[in-house]
C-alpha cells in the first residue's frame, strides 16, 4: 500500500475491507443484532433458511412479519413451535425484529427437490390465479408473503391450513382459492408451489 495516500483514504479502505457497506450500516445496532441472532438457528443466518422446511424470514414486509407474530402470540395463526416462541417477545421487540429482517435480502440458495413438469404447469396456473397479488413472480409482497424461492414444504403446510380453514384468508384470496379448486382441484396448488419455490 502506498504511503502517499492520506490516512482518511486508508481508513475508508479499511472500512470497506471489514464490509462497511450500506447493509452493515443498517445492521450496526448490536442490540438489535443480538435480539435477532437466536432466530437464525431455525430460520438461517440473516433469516435466509437453508433448511427444507423452515421459511426464510428475511426480506418480508414489516407489516407481514408483525401480523404473523401477532397471529402466533394469540394462537390465531396455526403453528408448531412459533406459537410458543412468539409469546416471549413484546411488541417493541417484535417490531424491532420485523424492521431488522425486512432490511435483509431474501436469499434464494436453491437446493429444493422440485419437479420441472410441475413447475411448468404451475407457472401457467400462477399467471392466471395468483400473480395479481403475488406480483413479479412472487418476489413482491405488498400485503402478502414472499413466495418466490420460499420453502416448498412450508408453503404446502400453509396452503393446507388455508384450505382446511385453520388459517384465515381475506375475501380476495378466498375467492381465488375457491376458483382454483373448482377449476383444477386442490392438487393444482402443488404445481403452483413448485413453480414459486423454483423462482430465483
Amino acid at each position: 500500500m502506498s504511503t502517499q495516500r492520506t490516512p482518511v483514504t486508508l481508513l475508508a479502505a479499511a472500512l470497506l475491507a471489514v464490509g462497511w457497506t450500506s447493509h452493515a450500516a443498517v445492521a450496526a445496532d448490536l442490540s438489535v443484532e443480538a435480539l435477532a441472532a437466536p432466530c437464525a438457528g431455525c430460520h438461517g443466518t440473516d433469516g435466509t433458511s437453508v433448511g427444507m422446511a423452515a421459511p426464510t424470514i428475511a426480506g418480508l414486509p414489516k407489516e407481514y412479519f408483525n401480523e404473523a407474530m401477532f397471529g402466533y402470540k394469540t394462537d390465531t395463526k396455526p403453528a408448531t413451535v412459533m406459537g410458543r416462541i412468539a409469546k416471549g417477545y413484546d411488541d417493541k421487540q417484535t417490531e424491532a425484529l420485523a424492521a431488522y429482517f425486512a432490511a435483509k435480502p431474501f436469499g434464494r440458495p436453491g437446493g429444493q427437490a422440485l419437479d420441472p413438469a410441475k413447475i411448468a404447469k404451475g407457472k401457467e396456473l400462477a399467471d392466471k390465479y395468483c400473480q395479481k397479488c403475488h406480483e413479479n413472480e412472487g418476489r413482491d409482497a405488498d400485503g402478502v408473503g414472499v413466495l418466490a424461492g420460499q420453502k416448498l414444504t412450508y408453503m404446502q403446510f400453509s396452503v393446507a391450513d388455508f384450505l382446511s380453514g385453520k388459517r384465515e384468508m381475506d375475501k380476495r384470496q378466498k375467492a381465488k382459492f375457491e376458483e382454483l379448486v373448482k377449476d383444477h382441484g386442490a392438487p393444482a396448488f402443488t404445481d403452483i408451489l413448485h413453480y414459486y419455490a423454483n423462482v430465483k
Binding site: 486508508l10 481508513l11 471489514v18 457497506t21 431455525c42 433448511g51 413451535v81 416462541i85
Partner: protein, 430 residues
C-alpha cells in the same frame, strides 16, 4: 453504498471500530483486540462465527483438537440407521472463510493472569478475552467396572463419532429377540431428552427389523424431559404399559440406578437387580469438559457464570458457554449453546469496546423423534436476571408440543426438525 465523511470516519477510528487487521501506518497493530475461543462444537463455532460477523475488526482464533466435529444432534438417527455418520461431520472451512483463525491443536492450559492459552503442540495464544466451550466429560469412575476402555464394548455413544458407529454396529449385529439396555444418567447432563429419543428410535428400528426385541431403560431419575409426550408415543407405537411393551422404563424409585457393571458379561447391576443386555448403552454421569476443569472454571463439576455475560465467576476474563456452563434454567442442548454463544459474543464485544452490556432473550428449541415422521419439540425463552445470577425461563412462553395432536402436527415437527439441523449447522460453522 454508505459513504462516510471525514468527521464520521475519525469518530469511528476513535471508537476503535476500524482498527482491523489492515496495514495502517499510524495505528499500532497491537491495538487489535484478540479473542480466543476454545472448542469447535456448536457453542465454540457459533461464538467464533458471530464474533467475526458482529465485530470484523477483532482477531478471533478458534482452537479445536479435531479436524472434524460430529454433531451430537441427529446422532440418534445414525444409531437407528436413518442417517449416515458422515452426514453429522462438519469441518472448519466455513469459519476460516468468515475470517476466523482456526487452530487444530489441543488446549492444555489457560493462564488467566498472563492471558494466554497453551496447547499440546507448544503454541501460545494471547487474548484480551477468552470463550471456553469445553462441552462435557464422563465420570467413568461413577460406575464401578466402567472406563473409557470399557466404553469400546459397552458404548456410551454420547459424544458423536466413532462411539456412535460402534453402537450402531452392535445393534445391527444383535439377533432378533435380543435386549437393548440403555442406562440413562442423573441430572444434569447433555441433551436431556436424548436417551429417551434414542430408546424410541431403537425401538422403531427393532419394530421394523427385529420385532421380538426389547428396550430396557435403567434410569437414575424419576422423571425426564418431554416425558408425557414420550409415554404417549410409546403407548401408541410400542405397547408401553402392557406386558408386551417393547420399551420398559425403570425409574430410580423402581431401582433403575446403576452403580456397577460387568463388562465381559454385558450385565449392569442396578438397585433392582442385574440386567443382561445383548447390547448395552451406558451413558455415565457427566461433568464439564477437562479444559474447563483444568482451568479452574468448574469448581463443582460445572462452570458458574454471570448470566448476562457468561463470564466465569471463578476466572475473570474467561467466559464459559454451552454444556460446560451452569446456565440455571437453560438445558444443555446444541441450540442453547448456540444462543449462549451469540449472547456471549455480543457481551465480549461490548466489554472490549468499553460499552455497557445489554441483555436480550435467548432461545432454546429442541426436537425429539419417535420415528422418521413423528417428532415433537420443546422451546423456551430465557432472560438473564438483572444481577446475572440466573437465566430464568419466561413462564408465559415456551413449553412442549401439546399432547394428543394429530399425525400431521407430528409430521410437520419432523420436517421442521431436519430443517433445524441444516440451519443450525450452517449458522454455527458457516
Amino acid at each position: 453504498m454508505f459513504t462516510p465523511n471525514r468527521r464520521s470516519l475519525l469518530k469511528f477510528a476513535a471508537a476503535g471500530v476500524a482498527t482491523a487487521g489492515v496495514s495502517m501506518p499510524w495505528a499500532a497493530r497491537a491495538a487489535t483486540q484478540r479473542v480466543v475461543v476454545i472448542g469447535g462444537g456448536p457453542g465454540g463455532a457459533t461464538a467464533a462465527h458471530y464474533l467475526k460477523r458482529f465485530a470484523p475488526e477483532l482477531d478471533v482464533t478458534l482452537i479445536e483438537a479435531n479436524a472434524k466435529y460430529h454433531t451430537c444432534f441427529m446422532s440418534n438417527e445414525v444409531i437407528a440407521g436413518l442417517r449416515k455418520l458422515d452426514e453429522l461431520a462438519v469441518g472448519f472451512d466455513g469459519l476460516k472463510k468468515a475470517g476466523v483463525k482456526v487452530v487444530n491443536d489441543l488446549v492444555t492450559g489457560i493462564d488467566a493472569t498472563a492471558k494466554t492459552v497453551a496447547t499440546k503442540g507448544g503454541q501460545s495464544f494471547g487474548f484480551d478475552r477468552c470463550i471456553v466451550a469445553a462441552g462435557i466429560d464422563f465420570k467413568f469412575d461413577a460406575v464401578a467396572g466402567y472406563s473409557a476402555e470399557a466404553a469400546e464394548i459397552l458404548p456410551h455413544a454420547y459424544k458423536a463419532g466413532p462411539q456412535t458407529e460402534t453402537l450402531r454396529k452392535q445393534l445391527e449385529a444383535m439377533p432378533d429377540g435380543g435386549t437393548f439396555v440403555l442406562v440413562a444418567p442423573p441430572n444434569p447432563f447433555r441433551c436431556p431428552p436424548g436417551p429417551y429419543e434414542r430408546a424410541s428410535l431403537v425401538a422403531d428400528y427393532f419394530k421394523r427389523n427385529k420385532p421380538k426385541s426389547k428396550v430396557v431403560i435403567l434410569d437414575a431419575k424419576d422423571a425426564f424431559s418431554k416425558q408425557k409426550l414420550f409415554e404417549e408415543a410409546w403407548t401408541r407405537f410400542f405397547g408401553y404399559g402392557t406386558p408386551d411393551s417393547m420399551i420398559t422404563w425403570v425409574s430410580a424409585k423402581q431401582g433403575g440406578t446403576v452403580k456397577e457393571v460387568d463388562v465381559a458379561g454385558r450385565t449392569v447391576v442396578a438397585e433392582a437387580g442385574k440386567f443382561k443386555g445383548d447390547v448395552v448403552n451406558l451413558i455415565p454421569p457427566q461433568m464439564a469438559g477437562k479444559i474447563a476443569r483444568d482451568a479452574g472454571l468448574a469448581e463443582k463439576g460445572w462452570a458458574a457464570i454471570d448470566a448476562r455475560t457468561f463470564e466465569s465467576k471463578a476466572v475473570p476474563g474467561v467466559h464459559v458457554i454451552g454444556d460446560a456452563a451452569i446456565a440455571t434454567a437453560m438445558p444443555k442442548s446444541g441450540y442453547a449453546a448456540s444462543s449462549q454463544a451469540k449472547a456471549a459474543a455480543v457481551a465480549v464485544i461490548q466489554m472490549l469496546r468499553g460499552q455497557p452490556v445489554f441483555s436480550v432473550p435467548l432461545i432454546n428449541t429442541c426436537y425429539s423423534f419417535i420415528n422418521k415422521d413423528y417428532c415433537f419439540s420443546i422451546a423456551g425463552i430465557y432472560e438473564p436476571s438483572p444481577d446475572g445470577a440466573t437465566l430464568a425461563e419466561r413462564t408465559d412462553a415456551g413449553g412442549t408440543s401439546p399432547l394428543a395432536k394429530d399425525d400431521d402436527y407430528r409430521l410437520r415437527e419432523a420436517r421442521y426438525a431436519h430443517s433445524w439441523f441444516d440451519n443450525i449447522v450452517k449458522d454455527s460453522w458457516g
